[in-house]
Subunit: 208 residues, 3 copies
């Protein structure tokens, strides 16, 4: 319980920062910052909790995550102009939040006792859904569509590594979580820094 809550809070904080940065790119007012921070911060975990029928949803049980997201939004509203490139910050913070959220999804799904395939999907869904909603609502190109970048792939690999760790190292929550964050963030960072990628599909006429 302790670990999944900690993960939820950490991903809420970092995703909220990315939501607020997306709001800054859309030049919204401070309540718009709070809106996007909350949407991004709790989007993935909310989907996970609805799908697993966890009642109540984590931020309804305890509204602290909303307060965290709100505080993050206010901080970004007054400091974003200090950043060299807001897009770069957004992408790197998203990578961190993403890695943590995948681990949170995996941890909660394992606790819920669902099958292995579903644990993988919950990891990926929890990691990607908040950022996806942020990008769709903010009219940005969703990160899942970026060609030649590892994104869903990183989440998938991290969730899979986490399951292997749980089986072969220790089923306790700490190891699988550390491995998941390490692998997901590592692959995403390698993709951003060194262009690591999987071959993409290339049809003859690209979009016919």
């Amino acid at each position: 319980m302790g670990i999944t809550l900690t993960l939820d809070y950490a991903s809420v904080l970092v995703f909220a920062l990315t939501g607020a940065l997306a709001a800054s790119r859309a030049q919204l007012d401070i309540v718009g910052f709070i809106f996007f921070a909350c949407l991004t911060a709790v989007g993935g975990g909310t989907l996970r909790d609805l799908l697993l029928d966890r009642d109540p949803v984590f931020w309804i049980a305890d509204a602290t995550p909303l307060a965290v997201a709100m505080a993050a939004a206010v901080v970004v509203f007054f400091t974003a102009h200090l950043m060299e490139s807001r897009l770069k910050w957004l992408i790197w913070l998203d990578a961190g939040a993403f890695a943590i959220a995948v681990a949170a999804g995996v941890a909660v799904a394992r606790e819920a006792g669902v099958s292995t395939g579903v644990v993988l999907v919950m990891g990926v869904a929890t990691g990607t859904f908040g950022g996806l909603m942020r990008d769709v609502v903010a009219n940005e190109v969703p990160l899942v569509l970026k060609q030649g970048e590892l994104y869903v792939t990183a989440a998938f690999a991290g969730a899979a590594a986490s399951l292997l760790g749980a089986r072969f190292l220790s089923p306790e929550a700490a190891w699988p979580t550390v491995i998941c964050i390490f692998v997901t963030f590592g692959l995403r960072a390698g993709s951003l820094l060194f262009g690591w990628s999987l071959p993409v599909y290339k049809g003859r006429p690209p979009r016919a």
Copy 2:
């Protein structure tokens, strides 16, 4: 119970009109009008009911809201050409539906006995989500992204005023509801008519 149902019906009716107007802007057929009317009309309340685990969702318990939305769609299909500016009607009807839906979200959340922060979020989510789905699916710029307009801010202020009213005036459902609609619609209308707004974020390079 009486008041929340009445609010749900009223917001369904007015949101359905805005959904049908969005369909008219996309030049769909009459079933497309019905689709957008239903999507917009029940979107926010459905999200609220799923999040609060209200079972069944309000329009599954009683399908009358769907019939109301359908009737509204048919009426708009045959009368929209009479309007001077459909966009203007859409925006003003949206403002009304929005104010009512925020009040409905607050009322239901208060009945469910969740914490104050969650009541605020439910108000905002119920108010914005239907219109957000309408705009995302119809490929329009979501109203939440309109710069220099009060939208989420109006919902937030209305929900907060409603909670203050419940504490200091009377906890009965009528007062908080009236206050919420008045504040939300008033701020939104003031924003549309007189350009009331909060300062927006201005970075140096607007979208770098």
Copy 3:
């Protein structure tokens, strides 16, 4: 029970193919194909199960649909370049998956014992939502917005015909299902091949 499961599997398979084709149009890597295949394949049924509070959601109870969607994505990744026009395949496969999914939605809603209006809406929602999520996330124009094509209309007619069949022919699951698929796919195919359509709304200034 047997029939709704079969329908869920069939629509998962065919929708997964359309999701993978959308991924090919966006030139993603193989995990991107799997992501879009799963999103499209289980989107509509997931919404239906959440709304009807079916616990657990069909692909959480048994992860086979996810394996089916994944396999479909891998097959498309290695064979899509063989197709003459991927867009044409996408549209026709979507028509098939769509017809099956409407029938699945109607069957599950009838089993759940909800009212007639809600059965209709569940049919339409189950049929359209997976493709809608695919198109919104992939930045394609949603099929529901295509002017002069029967889409939601076909789903609506199929669901209605299915209910009539259940009342006047036989309430057993097979007849209503066959009728629903036949009518939905027939109308959609007629629209694609022969331009069948309902009159669309025409305002004076098309988008003012």
